[in-house]
Subunit: 214 residues, 2 copies
Amino acid sequence: MEQREISQAVIGRLPRYYRYLGELMESGVERISSNDLSKKMKVTASQIRQDLNNFGGFGQQGYGYNVKYLYAEIGKILGLDIAHNMIIIGCGNLGQALANYAAFENRGFILKGLFDIKPELSGKLVRGVEVRMMDELKEYVQTHDIEIAALTIPKSEAIKVADMLVANGVKAIWNFAHTDLNLPEDVIVENVHLSESLMKLSYNVSRYRDEHVK
Amino acid sequence: MEQREISQAVIGRLPRYYRYLGELMESGVERISSNDLSKKMKVTASQIRQDLNNFGGFGQQGYGYNVKYLYAEIGKILGLDIAHNMIIIGCGNLGQALANYAAFENRGFILKGLFDIKPELSGKLVRGVEVRMMDELKEYVQTHDIEIAALTIPKSEAIKVADMLVANGVKAIWNFAHTDLNLPEDVIVENVHLSESLMKLSYNVSRYRDEHVK
DNA sequence: TAGATTGTTAATCGATTAACAATC
DNA sequence: TAGATTGTTAATCGATTAACAATC
């Protein structure tokens, strides 16, 4: 549409704004200026205003932003006001950790199914959802309008499972496997590469250590 | 030192280079040009060369890069060749998932301790490491030369635990709690905010859905 | 009305890409 | 030597910050 493309740098900051606004709301704060928020969040006020104005004018000159309103609006921008059917593939510790993440339902993510290969997990309930076996996955996805699949399985499995999911209608993959997925352009992939995160940390402590030894 | 500051954008790409080079090594590839690597990784050859040349010249004109050598060098840059003592605070599913991540030891991260508040977990072994109670944490950190602490505990606890850890010598926090930690400048914090990751995904699927409905 | 603070344009800064001379 | 490909400088692009007129 007319809406120009918004950079992923901006999108990446929205959840953090959302979190801070949620906390302000809980503390009963009614309004906040970009300047006050910038101090709390350690970003520039300019950036906050620029980011928000990608989506519309949510503030008022001389007043600032209404916390409750802005929180709700950012929620809408992020799509948290609509239901997203989700499944988790892989019920190891990581898969179960995601399943147990309570805030999911509040934010429109509806856990519809859990899948694993291990027969001993079959029928087990995690957060009220029964674990199914992988051979049921294809048919399940075809018939249950699943939008998002979280992949918490080894990389050796991840690529072919992702291909199958996408071929059967899944629109987005939350990928925890240590590999890249080469999927069609219109499929959304959000990678969480924990090992890469730890290596970044490792780089930074190691550099720091170097500097202080010398 | 003389070394100018390297941007976090560059650091953030190193682990991915490392991963691809590791895979090439496993497939027995001996050398690769920035151009061939760029095609595999879907980045520009220019970026690869620029990134690497922040740290030195690892290639050879007319030849390219020796895979094994470059892999090792990036490993050193990332600090994967030195031991990092690590503990995990919080032995829920997420903490246990991290503990079980096998590649840790290969890459210099040595899991020294696991901590939780739940008495029923006391003494439990996870990957051969015994779960200790939180009241032992402070003394343990003081006496075991712990460099990195992974925080997989609720945000209500995370802030004060992080402060305590840092006050007792921990240099880096791998933070999985849904909050920012305001720690001294010289402490390295690497955040993994899963809920924010999922919201980014949510934004992208929602936008896509919009575009295709209209 | 005066003061505050937004929305938005312009200036700056940094990161990415392109180009090419150096050299294996 | 000729061809290939790096290392590095220069050009471009995009993102961040600063500034300020508009307006509540």
